[in-house]
Every structure is written in C-alpha cells, then in structure tokens.
C-alpha cells in the first residue's frame, strides 16, 4: 500500500516536472541541481531553492523601490540587482525568470522607465508562478518520502 502511494507520488512529481520543462519555466540546469542531491545531502535542491527565494525577494523589493522612486531612477543599481537575479535564476534553471531579467536589463540600459515597469510586473508574475510550482514539487517530494518511510526534516 505504502509502496503504491510513493509510486503514485513519484509519478505526480515527474508529471509536474515535465510540465515545467515543457512550459520553459525550468531548464536542464535544474537537473544538474538534482544530480548534486544524495543521501549525504537529501534536501540539497530545496535548500538551494529556498536561498534563491530569499535572495530573489530582496532583489525584487529593491527593484520595485528603485523604480517607484519618482525623483530619480537609479538604472545602474537596477542593472546590478538584475545581474544578481539573472545569475541565480540561471544557476537553478529558472529559465523564464532569467529571460524576463534579460528584457528588463535591456530596458534599464535605455533608461526606459515604462519598459522597466512592464518588465517588473512580468518578472514578479513569473517569479510567483515559479515559486508556487516549486513549492508544489517539494510538497509532493515530502509526501513521497514520508510515504516511502524515509524521514526528512520539514521545510518551511
């Protein structure tokens, strides 16, 4: 019974991953992360992704603050934050978030405030979608591990 539950959950995980790859939300770099996870570090992927969420939310808040500063938009600082977000998004395989960052950076290099505002909205939307889907993936993984009788520490 337990084995069948774990198998079903694994199938759910694979289906969700396949969907995220098909949608271009994730790319093969996410598979590289999974290859780094093993018995000595069984939560590596979720740990790295949680660091990514924490850092990205700081960067998104900074970008929003810079853009909403009606006096002067510091496009150079925006570029620095975007490089950081692009780098970490690439590293975890967050392809669509990374691509929006590229477009955002292009707008900031042209001091195009309207373009930057549009890009920021799209970036926040893509980031939220990615975060929700990865949370869903990790929840299924937790349930599968419990179902298979493996004990993992609970992730927030």
């Amino acid at each position: 019974m337990l084995g069948l539950g774990a198998d079903r959950l694994r199938a759910d995980m694979n289906r969700l991953l396949a969907l995220l790859f098909h949608q271009g939300v994730l790319d093969e770099q996410f598979l590289q992360l999974q290859q780094l996870q093993d018995e000595s570090s069984p939560n590596f992927v979720s740990e790295v992704v949680n660091i990514y969420f924490h850092e990205s939310e700081k960067l998104l808040r900074n970008l929003r603050a810079l853009l909403l500063d009606t006096e002067l938009s510091d496009y150079k600082k925006m570029g620095i934050h975007l490089n950081q977000l692009m780098g970490s998004s690439s590293s975890i395989g967050a392809k669509r978030v990374r691509n929006v960052c590229v477009a955002f950076r292009a707008a900031s290099e042209q001091n195009n405030r309207a373009g930057c505002l549009r890009a920021l909205e799209l970036l926040e939307h893509e980031y939220c979608y990615l975060k929700n889907k990865l949370h869903e993936l990790f929840q299924i993984e937790q349930q599968r591990a419990l179902s298979a009788g493996i004990r993992y520490p609970m992730q927030n």
């Binding site: 770099q29 590289q32 780094l36 790295v48 660091i51 950081q84 780098g87 975890i92």
Partner: protein, 138 residues
C-alpha cells in the same frame, strides 16, 4: 562518467587531494559551487568578493584552484586576479561569469586567468577546469 573517475581517484589517493577557493558574491552560486566541488572530493572555502580572496591569501592560505566570479562588490574579479598574480600566486584561476565570451571578457582573461567558463557551472564544465588544474600541477 569523468566525475566518477575523478572522485574515485581522489578517494583512492591516486589523485592528490585538491583544494579550491570559491570567490563569488551570490549566495546561490556559492552554495552550488561548494557542493559541486565537495561532491568531487575537493576541499573548498567560500569568500564573497575579490578583497576577501586577497585577504585569505595574505593569511597564508593557498589553493590549487580559484573559481573567480567577475562582477562583485568591493573588488571585482579582474582586479582580484591581477592582484593575486602580482602577489606571485600561481594557482589555476578559472573565471566564471554569467557574461559570455562575446561580452568582452578579454580584460578578465588578460588579468591572468587560466580558464574561463560561462555560468551556470555544470559538472562537465567543472571537470574540464579540474583537468587543467591536474595538468598544471603535473
């Protein structure tokens, strides 16, 4: 496959245990690069910018490999690489950046890099860098 060969080499003592310094201000990259190296049996340390890399060397530490990011606060990868070479540091320095070779990485290379890899760093890219370290040490 190559990473398994390298890992078993390190474990058996056939390949001398390497040491590495990760120089990167991005926490996600620090975590991934640390794990990549650890998985290959490579003892490694992480610092957050070029100045900290200089300071670690000034404290007397030395590494077989330095993974040097380009864009960092306080001191970037170009300046840090130049300073390390001026100090006589002969470690293999591999530049790793999300900027591509078409983005005029020339200055970074001329600062004294032995190799350059575009991020994200993968197992295959790291094994390629480590081959250069082994050749350098031999």
């Amino acid at each position: 496959m190559e990473d398994e060969v390298l890992k078993s080499g390190v474990a058996s003592g056939r390949v001398q245990k390497m040491t590495a310094l990760i120089v990167d201000d991005n926490r996600v990259n620090q975590t991934i690069h640390h794990r990549l190296l650890q998985n290959l049996g490579i003892e490694n340390q992480v610092v957050g910018n070029g100045k900290e890399a200089i300071d670690v060397h000034c404290s007397g530490k030395n590494f077989d490999l330095i993974l040097m990011d380009l864009d960092m606060p306080v001191m970037n990868g170009i300046e840090a690489t130049r300073k390390l070479r001026a100090m006589g540091i002969q470690s293999t320095i591999a530049g790793v950046s999300s900027r591509s070779l078409t983005d005029n990485i020339q200055e970074f290379i001329e600062a004294g890099l032995d190799d350059f890899q575009e991020k994200p760093l993968t197992i295959a890219k790291l094994v390629s860098i480590l081959r250069k370290v082994q050749n350098h040490n031999n």
